[in-house]
């Protein structure tokens, strides 16, 4: 499978060729220390590197998006996925999502929102703003596995477009791909339609940027 091989080739200005390991590096944002501990473990057990921060502001600082020009460490700590709580004091998860999508450097990083409240307008708002998916708390292992599969599959499809550049074939593949079923006990039937349509939208955006 393509994902186990090279996912990204980064060639910084210094000239070193860095091949990113296939392990995802996830930035988890949550103001609750209990939830940070749990999400960190869920992600580690799912073979991800994890960095946890306690607020949206800290997340932006970590990414170097807060105006601090000390961004030279960023290449080593490349973030492949951001998982954030929705309700946080100060910058909410939604605010963080918007800031990330507004930034040219970070808009490509998939963002997953977590919330203890199953509020459909909230979910729709986040997905519309570009969130990859929405997890209902308490988060379970099955949820994290599903997200990881989703992210890895998106990355694999990106690699395919780089090697094939066949837009029509890729669109057909996405149409026939159904979202992996979650063994989570949450009622996420309202979400089943969203992830695949979101993927179709983001894939065509990726492609148009390549052309």
């Amino acid at each position: 499978m393509a994902v186990g091989e090279v996912m990204r080739m980064e060639i910084p200005a210094g000239g070193d060729l860095t091949v990113t390991s296939p392990e995802l590096h996830v930035l988890a944002v949550d103001d609750s220390i209990v939830d940070r501990k749990v999400i960190e473990r869920l992600l580690r057990i799912s073979a991800c590197k994890v960095t946890t921060v306690e607020s949206g502001t800290r997340a932006l600082q970590y990414l170097g998006l807060d105006g601090d020009k000390g961004a030279s460490h960023l290449k080593d700590l490349k973030v492949n996925l951001i998982v954030t709580d929705y309700s946080m004091p100060g910058l909410t998860g939604y605010d963080l999502l918007k800031k990330l999508k507004e930034s040219s450097a970070f808009r490509e990083i998939p963002v997953v929102i977590m919330s203890s409240e199953n509020i459909l307008p909230r979910i729709e708002q986040c997905l519309k703003e570009g969130a990859e998916d929405f997890l209902l708390k308490p988060v379970k292992l099955a949820d994290v596995k599903r997200i990881k599969q989703l992210i890895m599959r998106n990355e694999a499809e990106e690699c395919k477009t780089l090697s094939h550049s066949n837009k029509r074939k890729l669109a057909q593949d996405i149409d026939t791909t159904s979202p992996s079923s979650s063994s989570s006990s949450h009622d996420d039937s309202s979400l089943k339609d969203f992830p695949s349509s979101k993927r179709i939208k983001s894939e065509s955006e990726n492609l148009s940027s390549l052309l």
Binding site: D31, S32, I33, V34, R41, I45, S116, K140, L141
Partner: protein, 156 residues
């Protein structure tokens, strides 16, 4: 030794099941146990320890917010209740979570007596859970010290 281990394991099994049956713990606690292994043998105890510290902090906030001579800021109380509801949900502390749901309703209704009652109840409830879990962890320790392994308990 084997007879002792078997006896302890049975005690542990019965005790764990009773905690679920009496509504102290729910499914999410089971989920946390899945995350524990030889590499992280104390994960559940660590998370619960953080949770109980959180309880002390948040209940303190609620008590202070309700103690305002004059107007009580119910949104402030509600914010702490919401946080406690979240963390209790994340660790499977079912009774604490249930109380937080009720507490939140009283906050929204700005019902002072209701809030004070809930505050007292939630304080008792988390302390009760803490004692029960301590007993459960002690049983685990005894099993291991007697040379046995802690059995997986099937709740269903």
């Amino acid at each position: 030794m084997d007879a002792l281990v078997a006896q302890l394991q049975m005690q542990f099994r019965d005790y764990t099941i009773s905690l679920y049956q009496q509504g102290f713990l729910d499914d999410q606690f089971t989920e946390l146990k899945k995350l524990q292994d030889e590499g992280s043998p104390d994960f559940v105890a660590e998370v619960l320890s953080l949770f109980f510290e959180d309880c002390v902090k948040l209940i303190g906030n609620m008590a202070r917010a309700l103690d305002q001579t004059g107007t009580v800021d119910y949104s402030q109380v509600g914010a702490s209740v919401h946080q406690l509801k979240g963390s209790s949900s994340s660790v499977g502390a079912k009774r604490v979570k249930g109380l937080c749901v009720t507490f939140k309703e009283y906050c929204e209704a700005k019902n002072y007596e209701g809030c004070v009652r809930c505050l007292q109840q939630v304080d008792i409830e988390y302390k009760t859970l803490k004692t029960k879990l301590q007993d459960m962890f002690n049983l685990e320790k005894q099993i291991i010290q007697a040379g046995g392994i802690v059995p997986q308990v099937d709740i269903n």
